[in-house]
């Protein structure tokens, strides 16, 4: 009997068909079938009545999909798939919706999620809801009420960006005091280089009219007075953030469910913790052991943490400070309770919008403090990077490098080449961001088998800034998907959560349009089609972490990690992509998020 549910899908179970015969029929689809598909798992669900976007070249779209035992059993024509139904099979009527493989987050910072879900989002659109200071304050107050934060405790907001508010001036302590006089309030600036405090927070940090302004910092003062007005930036902000109370492990653990909802609500079924400190890794392991993960989490421990990790986990190892035990690779590449380590993270530069990336050519606008002839800087010297890369190559650990500017990209190309790597090694070493590339660097990627994880949503959030800083030519070649594809390079696309929101549809939109906040197109020639944009968040992102056999497309035997979108992204205009909605998300066949009515 058909049953309408609040999410827009229709579900029912049917009586029908013999399992054995049906499986036989399924084999006739001519699709590749793995052992998993032949294990005889009962067909638990069949999706029909919409479009199955498989991301498989042999059958890009299909009419119906059968899953069971956490895996995909069959995909194909409605008649063939329905033939698999048993009396226990739930039939999900898609009513025109589309099923896609669950999105794979190819680079982000999962550990920011349990933190920021306990904060108020006061960003301007599209990241957050606030368009005025009054709305920022209202959101802070609403947040304190929703979370029952007692008076005297901290209310923390993030994403403060007066350039997106209508007021045309900075928020002050008085603005916040009017709504939250008895809470300590800190609102993080969108740059993460500053904040606005209320009066109780100033008192907490012992800051008043006698506090001198530190060199290289800003303390906004009230007109005609030396009393701090609210805003602190740079050197004045650094000690404030460092002294902010950190959430306890239990608080983080309790926040994990909401944290994962940031992903599942957007159809993401594999998350990345892409710069993992040792305490965070220990937290993730405990969370995994407690069965807290609904989605898969891929962790990349930071290279700086390896000496401490080795000291703890291999206490008898007697190597030098940057040598690895022979068995290191065994710790990588396998899930346990939905958590796996995939490789080492090596950061080589900073961010282009912060002007701390490392380029070969100077910026047109000088350095962050007006320095002339500014190319940014590397985080480590090549004498450090090269032997470290060689050691991880030797011990068989995949390398994920953070490199935004072309000079930082040169450094990892040099180090990889010096370590004797070629594409034939199939190491899939990943250069995360690969934003400001030079065209010939793509050839080096081909030679060395390096795969970029691009960051096209930068063209939206900071595209105008990048044109100003680097000129249209360099900015136009950022995250060069078309050029990379032409050379046969496989690449992913990421959001760098929480640097930008976890929003696969906007990521896709940016890869297709490369349109900035001001409406300028940043590099027309590097705009890809929707199919390529989709691959970079599904099959190619899965390939990048050696999971293409189980994830990233809808094919028999693969994990039933799925997202249902209300419309088929292959058939909407680019503009309408941003209007698509996630109806439901499945991780290995289990519903992990469903749209409320």
């Amino acid at each position: 009997m058909a049953k309408h549910t609040s999410d827009g899908l229709t579900r029912r179970t049917v009586l029908k068909t013999t399992g054995a015969g049906a499986l036989f029929t399924a084999a006739a689809f001519g699709l590749p079938r793995s052992v998993g598909a032949q294990s005889g798992a009962p067909v638990e669900k069949i999706f029909r009545g919409g479009t199955i976007v498989t991301i498989e070249e042999s059958l890009p779209v299909a009419e119906a999909l059968a899953i069971g035992g956490g895996r995909i059993i069959a995909v194909g024509s409605e008649a063939d798939v329905m033939a698999l139904a048993t009396d226990a099979t739930e039939i999900v009527e898609l009513n025109g919706a589309a099923v896609l493989p669950g999105f794979v987050d190819s680079h982000g910072h999962f550990m920011n999620a349990p933190q920021i879900v306990s904060w108020a989002n006061v960003s301007g659109p599209p990241v957050g809801p606030a368009t005025s200071i009054a709305e920022v304050v209202a959101e802070l107050k609403a947040h304190a009420e929703r979370r029952n934060i007692p008076e005297g405790e901290w209310v923390i907001g993030y994403g403060y960006d007066p350039t997106l508010y209508s007021d045309g001036h900075e928020m002050t302590r008085d603005d916040i005091d009017a709504a939250l006089p008895n809470h300590r309030v800190l609102v993080l600036h969108v740059s993460n280089h500053g904040c606005v405090l209320n009066s109780l927070a100033f008192k907490n940090f012992g800051m008043d009219e006698n506090t001198p302004t530190p060199e290289g910092g800003t303390i906004a003062r009230k007109p005609g007075s030396n009393e701090p007005a609210g805003l602190l930036m740079e050197a004045a902000f650094i000690p404030i953030f460092a002294q902010l109370p950190k959430p306890t492990e239990q608080e983080l653990m309790d926040a994990l469910e909401n944290a994962q909802m940031l992903y599942t609500s957007r159809g993401v079924t594999t998350a990345q913790e892409g710069a993992t400190h040792k305490p965070d890794l220990e937290f993730l392991i405990r969370a995994a052991d407690q069965g807290r993960f609904k989605i898969d989490v891929v962790a990349l421990p930071l290279v700086l943490e390896f000496p401490a990790l080795i000291a703890e986990y291999a206490p008898n190892f007697r190597g030098g400070p940057m040598e690895l035990p022979d068995a290191t690779a065994k710790a990588f590449g396998t899930y346990r309770n939905r958590l796996k380590l995939q490789g080492v993270k090596i950061p080589l530069d900073g961010s282009p919008q912060g002007k701390t990336a490392f380029w070969t050519e100077p910026l047109l606008t000088g350095g962050p403090e007006g320095e002339a002839d500014w190319v940014g800087f590397p985080l480590f010297a090549p004498e450090v990077v090269n032997p470290v890369v060689a050691e991880f190559v030797k011990k068989g650990v995949q390398i994920f490098t953070h490199a935004n500017g072309d000079a930082a990209i040169d450094m990892i190309i040099d180090a990889t080449r010096a370590a004797g790597v070629t594409a034939a090694n199939n190491r899939r070493d990943c250069v995360i961001h690969s934003q400001f590339m030079r065209p010939e660097q793509l050839d080096a990627y081909v030679e060395l088998g390096i795969t970029p994880s691009f960051f096209t949503v930068h063209t939206f959030y900071w595209g105008d800034v990048h044109v100003e800083n680097t000129g249209p030519k360099r900015a136009g070649f950022m995250s060069p998907m078309v050029s990379a594809k032409a050379k046969g390079i496989r690449f992913s696309n990421h959001s760098d959560f929480s640097v930008t929101p976890m929003d696969p549809l906007r990521m896709m939109h940016s890869a297709i349009t490369r349109r900035s906040r001001s409406g300028a197109v940043i590099g027309e020639a590097e705009r890809v089609d929707i199919a390529t944009a989709l691959r970079s968040m599904t099959i190619d992102a899965a390939w990048q972490i050696f999971e293409e056999d189980t994830k990233g497309s809808i094919a028999p035997g693969k994990l039933a990690d799925l997202v249902i979108l209300d419309r088929n992204p292959l058939e909407v205009d680019a503009e309408d992509l941003l209007k698509l909605e996630v109806i439901e998300t499945f991780k290995e066949g289990g519903s992990v998020w469903r749209r409320q009515a």
Binding site: A235, P239, A242, L302, F358, V375
Partner: protein, 320 residues
């Protein structure tokens, strides 16, 4: 009481780790908290380690070193929670970091900056300065130094040494340059010497070790209460002829406030530093000067004054 902050910079191999080991394990009686910022590890003598928890090593002499892996500011904040247990904070800037920016990023903690000391490798510096990836960082480090320690001079011939010194003079005009082997500098230079308790004692006391006596000399400057103008004239004089000076200052009109004067190269700061605690208010500054010709000493006449830490005689209200 103020907790002075020193930043140690310099490219890889210049001797930062050797210097930090001397600071941590030397017999100088100061409790130093060191924040480490680079790959690798300090090879602290195991016999001195009292406790090793996570990335923090506590030594039996009261010194401590910790990693800045979760942020230098976070490490400073942790140390300041136990500020009574330490006499001095030292931050190691990573091999490619700009130590001046490291120091500046810490100014919000209102710690009196006791100098940016940059080590340079006498043999390698000319190569390092033209490296396509890191040459700019190497030069920026020199430019941000209050004191440049040209290290490993025992491993270099006279021609290369002259080349290295010329390079430093070109990029870091006016910086004080000291020459060293194995980063062996007097404690009086690294931390400033404490004033002697009795007048008949050597001003530098044990902080100017015997084997440095041929190269460095200590002196004691004593004054009564000074006006701000008189003090600034004294500071200009000291920073033009000494590499290091440290001591207490009494200012007219705010005689009850004890001020701490710290000078490294030509950078000096004066901060309020509590009260005289029963002692007779007096200006007593120990100076360190360089003897002979084995050391360079270029000094600027204009002092660098930290605006946030400037002496304000009227209210005596400054950081610390």
């Amino acid at each position: 009481m103020s907790l002075p902050l020193t930043v140690i910079g310099g490219y890889l191999g210049a001797g930062k780790t050797t210097l930090l080991n001397r600071m941590l394990t030397g017999d100088h009686g100061r409790r130093i908290a060191v924040i480490i910022n680079d790959f690798g590890e300090l090879n602290v003598d195991a016999r001195l380690i009292a406790d090793h928890a996570g990335d923090t090593i506590s030594l039996s002499n009261g010194c401590m070193c910790c990693s800045a892996s979760d942020g230098t500011a976070e490490a400073i904040a942790r140390i300041l929670k136990r500020k009574d247990e330490f006499d001095h904070i030292v931050i190691e800037a990573s091999g490619v970091a700009e130590p001046g920016k490291v120091a500046r990023n810490a100014t919000g903690f209102h710690l009196p900056l006791d100098g940016v000391i940059v080590l340079a490798d006498a043999e390698q510096l000319p190569h390092q300065a033209v490296n396509r990836y890191t040459g700019r960082s190497v030069i920026a480090q020199l430019q941000q130094a209050d004191l440049i320690v040209l290290n490993k001079i025992d491993l270099v011939g006279p021609e290369r040494l002259a080349e290295t010194r010329e390079l430093i003079a070109r990029h870091a005009k006016g910086a004080s340059v000291l020459l060293s082997e194995r980063a062996d500098l007097p404690y009086a230079v690294l931390f400033g010497a404490r004033p002697p308790e009795r007048l008949d004692q050597d001003p530098a006391g044990p902080d100017l070790e015997a084997h440095h006596a041929a190269d460095y000399a200590a002196g004691l400057v004593e004054r009564g209460p000074m006006t701000r103008e008189e003090f600034e004239a004294l500071a200009r004089d000291l920073s033009s002829r000494t590499v290091r000076a440290k001591g207490h200052v009494v200012l007219r009109n705010v005689g009850e406030v004890r001020h701490l004067y710290q000078q490294v190269g030509s950078r000096w700061t004066l901060v309020a530093d509590g009260t005289w605690q029963g002692a007779e208010p007096a200006t007593r500054i120990v100076t360190i000067t360089v003897r002979g010709t084995a050391h360079d000493h270029h000094c600027q006449s204009a002092p660098h004054i930290d605006p946030g830490l400037e002496c304000t005689p009227e209210g005596g209200r400054v950081a610390g």
